[in-house]
Symmetry: C4
Subunit: 287 residues, 4 copies
């Protein structure tokens, strides 16, 4: 094993640091990455606040460029150290990593576009991996399962919401008219969704008696509609939870959650066993 380690070139070492979180160096790298992502989001937010930007513009600007350059180098290293770079480049995280650097460069051409840097927030999803929060991911999967199981019902539900919004929106446009803020049908439909979801901004509100009567119907409908997705998710979730309970009591768990963060530098395969020395897909040495 130690022999295998010595044989590794700098690419392999970097690969281990950048992609994995099993070694101290790899862990440190990921922590620094997360801190920088958070710092970068904070910088963009602060920069958008006028009175802070007026005072510390220079500082914020420099800070942001330092982080962007770090991210750019990180991106290039990620591409270099992987043996099949295109697989990484077109993976979810690959695209995300690229998107989190280019807005700053584009901001030379289009002013304001650097605010898109907050897309870096999505990179925070790595937090789950780095902290080895497999159980968090487990919880997330259970959530995802119950959402997937009920996706057909949710589609039907959304379809119903949209059709009612279009119809009620048109009626309200006819009833209230442009003088009361319902200036056109799309705006009325927008208002209708605002009301159905019980958000109720109040920037547009019915003024006529008839309009308020129809609004009452919309609201009570919306009230009942809230019950539907909640009921669906609740029931599906209850079922998926019961199923996992039954499995626990009836039979020993047959596969455990994989907490290993090793990733093959050749084929990009994850989820190796803890004692795996070679990639189970392409046979590349993992150390």
């Amino acid at each position: 094993m130690s022999a295998a380690k010595q044989n590794k070139g700098w690419k392999d070492k970097l690969h281990e640091i950048i992609y994995e979180a099993d070694t101290p160096a790899g862990k440190l790298f990921d922590v620094i990455l997360l801190v920088l992502i958070l710092a970068s989001i904070l910088l963009v937010m602060l920069e958008s606040v006028n009175h802070i930007d007026a005072k510390y513009h220079e500082l914020l600007y420099i800070g942001e460029w330092i982080i962007t350059i770090f991210f750019s180098i990180e991106y290039i290293l990620r591409v270099i150290t992987v043996k099949k770079p295109f697989k990484y480049i077109f993976s979810f995280y690959g695209i995300l990593d690229l998107l989190s650097t280019i807005p700053m460069y584009i901001s030379f051409v289009f002013a304001g576009s650097h605010a898109l840097v907050t897309l870096r927030a999505l990179r925070l999803l790595r937090v789950f991996r780095i902290l080895k929060l497999a159980r968090y991911l487990g919880a997330s999967n259970q959530l995802k399962d119950s959402i997937i199981a009920s996706r057909v019902k949710i589609f039907v539900f959304l379809f119903a919401v949209l059709i009612s919004s279009v119809i009620f929106g048109t009626i309200m446009y006819l009833v209230e008219g442009e003088d009361n803020g319902f200036t056109n049908i799309p705006k009325s439909v927008y208002w209708c969704i605002v009301t159905l979801t019980t958000v109720g901004f109040g920037d547009i509100a019915p003024q006529t008696a008839l309009g308020q009567f129809i609004t009452t119907i919309i609201m009570i409908l919306g009230y009942g509609i809230i019950a539907v997705p909640t009921g669906i998710v609740s029931a599906e979730y209850s079922r998926s939870m019961k199923k996992s309970d039954d499995e626990k009591t009836q039979q020993p768990p047959q596969k455990k959650l994989n907490l290993n963060t090793q990733r093959c530098s050749n084929c990009h395969e994850e989820y190796h066993d803890d004692d795996a020395r070679f990639c189970k897909v392409c046979g590349t040495n993992l150390y």
Copy 2:
């Protein structure tokens, strides 16, 4: 079978295209129909936006008329090709198809009424049939079942909401008075429902200390009330889901969902078996 096909007149052929979605021509017809419905709704929406209408009024107007004429012809063909036209005319879709054409004609007499053209949105319900989304309909039916099963409870619940709204609305009218926007009892009742459903537009809001105190009670009540329909639907849905789970595990399914879209041109009967050659109700040849 081919002999039966050759014997069919143009009426039967049209019937197959218009009413069914099993042949390529029938499928194409339905897709064109859905696209036109969506286009038509979009046209009416855009027309209501002043600055778009100012620019493209001619274009929108012509487009809308083309669609309306298409729908009118389609309606007439539907009536002609069915052997029992009155059964179609007074069916749900029959009335809907008529309603989706007449607002344009009425708009000659009453300006603005053509906005009702968005009623065409309801025709989009056909989307479920055309895409053979029987499983969507299944999901929808399960939803419908749990809503029907809990309709009595929901009636009791709505009754409670309305009685409390009337009483609290009157109290707020007395407490706040006309100066604070509670100009009359119906408006106060309307405000009360806005608050109970947690929509809270804020166009009317209590100003006096006593009014705000009563509002607090209304809101906490409304908060508790949200729990009731959600709990009902959730429990009913959970039960209906469990029942269907039990059925799946205990016995083989005895009838499968009918995905066939054939419709008898004589008696308008749907839900024929896939291998049916004659209408099971009146014996008319289905091909």
Copy 3:
């Protein structure tokens, strides 16, 4: 039985008409009563609308007095025809019947108090009895049971909501101050409940950055808090429903719902069997 009927005096006949809904006359009386209650509420509502009142003041005023006089006579008859009048007078419906007449008389002394006539809305609860909607009442009881079963938890929950509102309200008062609408602590607490319940009128809204940050915490808290009562009611309701399902499958129902509306004219006892000829409590002839 016919002999027993002939022996009845006018009091007994009136008792049957007023209190019961088993005879055609009794049913008619109850329907008239409900229509009058609805009419009366409508009258008070319309009267509060200025432009309607300006036009039809006389008409509305006369209509209201006619109904009030009818209700007064009805109340007196109810007291007379019952053999133990005090039991009726101090019963829930007795107090309600009185309260639905006196606001009009008080309105001679205090202007505006006649708006309390809408308390008559509560009399609409009789609708359940008259329509023999025992199954509605059954549904209502199931609801009531699940609310009673969870009342301790709901108390704890409300306690938590109130303590958080007081604390967050005070903090917001200190942070935002009087200039931003948080003029005093009670108002801040009121605003806090408006926010926690997700009503959000927007008449008061945080203006400072710190205030908006704290509001974010309050809202996410409120979001989580919504889950609690819903979860409780949903779970309790699910349990009570399952229990009644189990009872149905395991043993034959041992008592059926009593749909009989006879009421003893002596001791005011309800819930007699359909074939009962004498009151089961005091032995008075029921016919």
Copy 4:
């Protein structure tokens, strides 16, 4: 036993009165305490209302100081009568008791800080103990259990809410711009959470067509998101309730709730048996 009682010094007697609620004197003390806490919160609230403060400033000020002095004495007595004072001082209630007195003293130095006196609201949590509402605490524990059981899922959920808020907030800032109230990104993120939680104050609302379209997506997302925590808590709660039901039917309860409020004056141990004469931890006489 009576001999043991006579041997007690004043410290022990005070300890019994202050810390326990089993003797009439102890009960009276706790009731007075709760009333004073409520009175104190009311005083601070009223003082913040300008027109009340203008009239009764002296009265409110004196009342508040009387209560503060009482609380200070109570705090000192609590420290003195306990044999291990530091254990009390750094316990949850110890810190709370201190925090509920110091704001008044600090108000000499910093004006306004005495409003923090409403932190006394937290002392009201004692109400559960004094009323021996062990079953309330039981209910509260069941709630706590289901919240703890679902804390991982709720963390994942909150994480998702925050990431979406940051991203949608930035997009809305770019789309709507400073002219429409979205003056900076933190404010946009705040607005986004206001919308996602369906609070919808309406102090900031999208004005552009594109902004309103994105808002529609945010709202429908928020609508679906409401379903998630509700579903989680509901399912967890249902499970914990079922578990306790199963336990009840399968085996006799093995430990009952401890309603005893005795507390050892030496080691601060609670939860003694009703017939305990000596502390089960350190052997100190409990009487």
